[in-house]
Subunit: 726 residues, 2 copies
């Protein structure tokens, strides 16, 4: 009979076998294509962004394109129990070293003997990017491999290998999990989509796909020789206006084409007008809808049908703009803009919670070194990038991105800090674009308080990141820079008499102007005291004399600030007015800009062009974020939802229910005026409620905070039903 | 009748028309393909260097590959007398703006109206590099265009274009002067070359091409199906040793191949052993010799037949290694090494004077930013790069390279200066390779005097370059850094008792070792006083107890130092021994290393491999340089041969004659013991002669300097025959 000690020692034996054979675990794991981190994103974003066209002219970005490293060395160390037959797939010719010894030729597989081994592949690919897929039973390319762009491995005069100072970093990967699924051949998913309606036009045929969409036009039953023109329109008017529509394609057929033709360029449209030479005949037009396969993990439904439609159309708008990367608009730009993407990250946390999309976008935006201009050349857009990294960490708890990209965070921050003026404030230098918002008459020169506030937040993000990256000294330095800047921000821009944040100082002279920007960010950055918040709310946010915001872009933050101040009732009305207004105009996705005072086709114009406005713009989808964070009321308090808060606010609705995604499942919420139900698969939540009487709940304690506010701790896996009275 | 005034005014009219119509001149000039400066070189060197193979394994460099910018904007401003029909050729899709207005589509030509216009092309090419060829009567792409990698041209909310801080630089170009001659399709020239001898081997056939060569094997009368193996050898032994030869190719034929097959991979060899399956038949083997078309502008002939052969074989060695870039060895490395290339530059000035090859090589070596390691990761190789830029300016007088690359000169120097220790000396940090020379037992750690001397010279090169680039403050700073470092170099390393330069200091302790390196460079850098030079010559250079030099690489400088001390007689004997020794061993090109004490196949070994040694190595060709500079005795004194010196030294020869190329024609020299003839197409030369009696010459004055030394001024275009007595 075994005594406890012998049981324990057997148990330890089992455990230690587990420890001794870590590769038994990896024998279960999947091989995947790997590359230098960020390089796939650089390559793909270069390729994608140049697909922007204006009436068949290529329209590439105005900022620098970085390049993938054309030559990189991948390396792993393994300790395997048995010899392993390992298959090798490579994008580009490679040099293979097994334990430092070169294997001749370009083998398609090798046998790695049992035991400890160092395996390295130096891969060259100047056309696309170097990548490998290595698949044995034990030896597999995965996120645990390291990579470098300069291996510095040289052979001295005696034939002895020397290597030092090699900058190894963790590899990049995504979901390229089979050998044939090569990074260089990445394509979004497509699915057939039929026209909803067709009508004859003077010159041809107008095809209506029923709502905003994106993809490749297909022509069925195509016969004959000649030309076919495709005029795309997000609106009927645009597709009909062949001389002025923003996108079009001229096709030419020699008579030998297949009967079903699929165009190779994707476009955004609801309508397409097809104008064919008389010598060309076809039966019908359809399209291949192109999209990134994503799960709608967030959900929202309420007693208000219009609001539900706003959420649905927002989610669709968000999906259309969540592609290779989070882009701004699908018709025109198709570029990756940091300010726009920052909002997409936030919306994504309440809809898809697709971390790879956030990582891809942040990597593409940051590019590489040297840093010679702001991200997208816009000062505020460099700063949003830092805040985006912090938010990513907060929502996902993932530290790998920060650990891998910390050197690039630092070089971008060095660039920003190097552009401060003698007062320590960011003030635009040559080549710096200060965007803030599209707003007529918005002053953007000199020292603008909004930019300093974003810089302070960015420095805080750097401090947190430095700690994660193990850079203690940096952490201290960034923390000090942040707190000094915050002090200075208030010393200079806070108007102690009016109790609001001023907008701008030029050559040391404070300008007599207050705008919403710094004032609303100060609220949800929690930079203001409670008293300051109240003053700002009344004197700025709810003051119609302060320069109005007309873009959904800044509307996002304005409404967020109001929600953060508990103005959900007011914001709900605003949402219904503003987004409901677009729906009333027939929107099937939300727009780049909306001005309720405009009429008819005026809504289509922008940038002085009749169809210049994007009718599907990511920043138009903010209700997803607002409804998830400030109505369902769920948000992380510590990284990866280890702790989180839930504070449902009906904002005048009778009831609402929905889901908020987390790194591990979704938090479900139902709330009416008398009942709140919560269930979470993750972390420890704190439910906060206002109630006329003390709420009741089974299996949890209700803590009274005073003033009719109560808190209930939500443990994961349990369902709570709370009775209360609003 | 016209008076003088009216004649003058008519003349002025003619002149002013010339000034008013600068584009009339450009109407005569050629259009050429243009790109971002250095990007073609980065792309081509990436491609070329990865062609190194070892027994069919790809063997890419150990240092970082930079990439061309995938997106660049070319721009020109023109003022043209007539409308111009301009043809457009582009490598990659482009966006064309004429006076800021986008031209739709991808036009193959446009009409530019008469008058002033700004034309810009934004071109995207991620696979190769963006390049354009624009050809009208007046509007033509040429070296006058500007280019940027971030145009920062954005449109504000009112549709107004904004642009500032755009880093424009002059474009790069070479000789791609027709539309079809695209940069992406660059290939060296080839010409057919027949075998000199064939013989049967046990397994197949050994083909001897008579001398070292480079190119593509051709198989004639090829029939059947099966495999053919090619075993290359720089020596007969290597080609016969199928298991250990350094390069080989396995070909496979399916029976449907053409009768004449040309292999697509070029190799270096004199011999090839062809081993075919019995099922494959062929008639004969030839090759396509591949080379860079270069004119042999330098020449040397003398009374010594062996020396003449040494010059000829040196020139051939130099030509074989002057390819896409100046490379080290043609069989094995095929990489661009800065230390090796630096010697090629110097030899080039006495043979081809091909400036584009120097520029291409310097651009490829420098790459781009950021600088994260030394050039080729070797400390001395970063420093040779700077000295090479200075020498390029001295020989060619060209300032465009420096003006274009000055920012990259500066960032590389920043990197170097950032790696100094607390004493201000370069001392290897992690990842720094100190090469100096292949020599057994040569100490390379700590503070090595040789590296400090190269740094001092590099700082002097930076000072000159800063002045050319118009950076006055930089010029002063670099000048001061250089002079401070020189002072410190002598304070620390000059042994005042022994009157020699010591080799090394470790942790503040001077090591008791003297080597040749710093001592020989100190002579021809002219860092030593006359007294110091004499001491160094006797105690180091001519002292057999000081660590001997066995590589032609450092032999180059050792012999140069001795020549600079007037030891031409001694050096001539050394040349005949050393290079004559290789010829006696059957060399048809000069080697990476030669040790006269070795026998037979021992000469083929290196790096512990039986055929590891390169038998055609650029650094083996130094007699070209020595004979041109120190026997014919011609060298520039000011940039571009505006002034130059000639000091013929027969070194014991009865007579010699030759040519030294300059930016504008060749300087011809003949010298015997009684007569010197000189003719130059350029600058003002100073002929210096030792003569027992005062030399006589027609049409020039002879100036006596004392001690039997005389000087004669050489004006361009005149032939001088000087009678003297040696």
């Amino acid at each position: 009979m075994m005594n406890l000690k012998s049981i324990l020692s057997k148990l330890l034996l089992v455990l230690s076998i587990g420890v001794l054979l870590p590769d038994m675990a990896s024998a279960q794991s999947k091989a995947t294509w790997i590359w230098y981190p960020g390089d796939f994103e650089v390559w793909l974003s270069n390729k994608m962004q140049v697909r922007r066209t204006e009436r068949e002219a290529v329209f590439p970005p105005l900022w620098q394109y970085y390049s993938p490293y054309a030559l990189v060395t991948f390396q792993t160390e393994v300790d395997i129990p048995k010899p392993d037959q390992v298959k090798i797939y490579s994008e580009g010719p490679f040099q293979l070293l097994l334990d430092g010894v070169q294997i001749y030729g370009q083998p398609k597989s090798i046998t790695v003997p049992a035991g400890k081994h160092k395996i390295s592949f130096k891969v060259y690919n100047q056309e696309v990017l170097p990548a490998i897929y290595i698949a044995g039973n034990y030896v597999k390319s995965d996120a645990s491999w390291k990579v470098t762009n300069e291996d510095k491995l040289w052979i001295d005069e005696n034939g002895k290998a020397q290597q030092s100072g090699t900058p190894w970093v963790p590899v990049g990967s995504w979901n390229f999990d089979t050998p044939v699924n090569k990074p260089s051949e990445f394509k979004l998913t497509t699915t057939p989509w039929n026209a909803k309606k067709t009508e004859k036009t003077a010159a041809g045929q107008l095809v209506d796909f029923g709502k905003e969409t994106f993809g490749y036009i297909k022509i069925h039953g195509l016969k004959g020789k000649g030309r076919v023109a495709l005029y795309y329109g997000e609106s009927r008017e645009e597709a009909m206006d062949t001389a002025r529509c923003e996108t079009l394609d001229h096709l030419s057929f020699d008579g030998n084409q297949p009967e079903t033709y699929t165009h190779d360029g994707s476009k955004a449209f609801r309508y397409v007008q097809v104008v064919a030479d008389a010598s060309v005949k076809y039966d019908s037009i359809s399209m291949l809808y192109e999209y990134l396969p994503l799960e709608y993990r967030g959900a929202f439904k309420s007693s208000d049908q219009e609001l539900n439609k706003i959420w649905d159309v927002s989610a669709y708008t968000m999906h259309l703009t969540s592609r290779e990367f989070f882009i701004d608009g699908i018709k025109r730009d198709r570029w990756v803009w940091s300010g726009d993407a920052y909002q997409s990250y936030l919306m994504n946390y309440y809809l898809f919670f697709d971390s790879p999309s956030v990582e891809r976008t942040m990597a593409a935006l940051r590019g590489k070194d040297p840093v010679t201009a702001h991200v997208n050349i816009i000062m505020d857009y460099s700063l949003y990038w830092f805040v985006g990294v912090y938010d990513y960490y907060l929502h996902t708890g993932d530290t790998k991105f920060i650990k891998t990209f910390y050197p690039r965070m630092k070089s971008l921050m060095d660039f920003c800090l190097g552009r401060r003026n003698k007062n320590g404030f960011l003030e635009p230098l040559e080549g710096d674009w200060v965007f803030i918002d599209w707003a007529n008459g918005l002053p953007k020169t000199g020292e603008v308080s909004f930019e300093q506030m974003l810089l302070a937040r960015s420095l805080e993000a750097m401090a947190v990141s430095a700690e994660i990256a193990g850079e203690k000294d940096d952490q201290k330095e960034y923390q000090k820079l942040a707190s000094d800047l915050k002090t200075k921000l208030f010393d200079v821009f806070w108007d102690k008499k009016e109790n609001v944040m001023k907008h701008q100082r030029i050559d040391g002279k404070m300008q007599d102007i207050v705008t919403r920007y710094a004032n609303m960010f100060g609220i949800f950055f929690n930079y203001f005291t409670e008293e300051q918040k109240q003053s700002v709310k009344n004197k700025v946010l709810l003051n119609k004399d302060v320069l109005q915001i007309t873009t959904p872009y800044m509307r996002f933050y304005e409404l967020e600030a109001l929600c953060a101040m508990g103005e959900q009732d007011y914001v709900l009305k605003e949402m219904k007015d503003y987004w409901g207004g677009m729906l009333n105009e027939g929107a099937t996705s939300f727009w780049e800009e909306y001005n309720p005072n405009k009429k008819g086709t005026e809504h289509l114009t922008m940038y002085g062009r009749p169809y210049g406005k994007s009718l599907c713009h990511a920043w138009g989808a903010s209700p997803i974020y607002l409804l998830g964070k400030y109505y369902l009321g769920v948000k992380p308090l510590s990284p990866g939802y280890e702790t989180w808060a839930i504070e449902p606010n009906l904002g005048g609705l009778k009831w609402m229910e929905g889901k908020v995604p987390t790194p591990n499942g979704e938090i479900s919420v139902y709330a009416s005026t008398s009942e709140v139900k919560v269930k979470s698969p993750i972390g420890t939540g704190t439910l906060r409620l206002k109630s006329k009487s003390k709420p009741s709940v089974k299996g949890a304690k209700v803590q009274a905070l005073g003033n009719g506010v109560y808190e209930i701790q939500i443990l994961k896996g349990k369902e709570y039903t709370v009775k209360y009275s609003l």
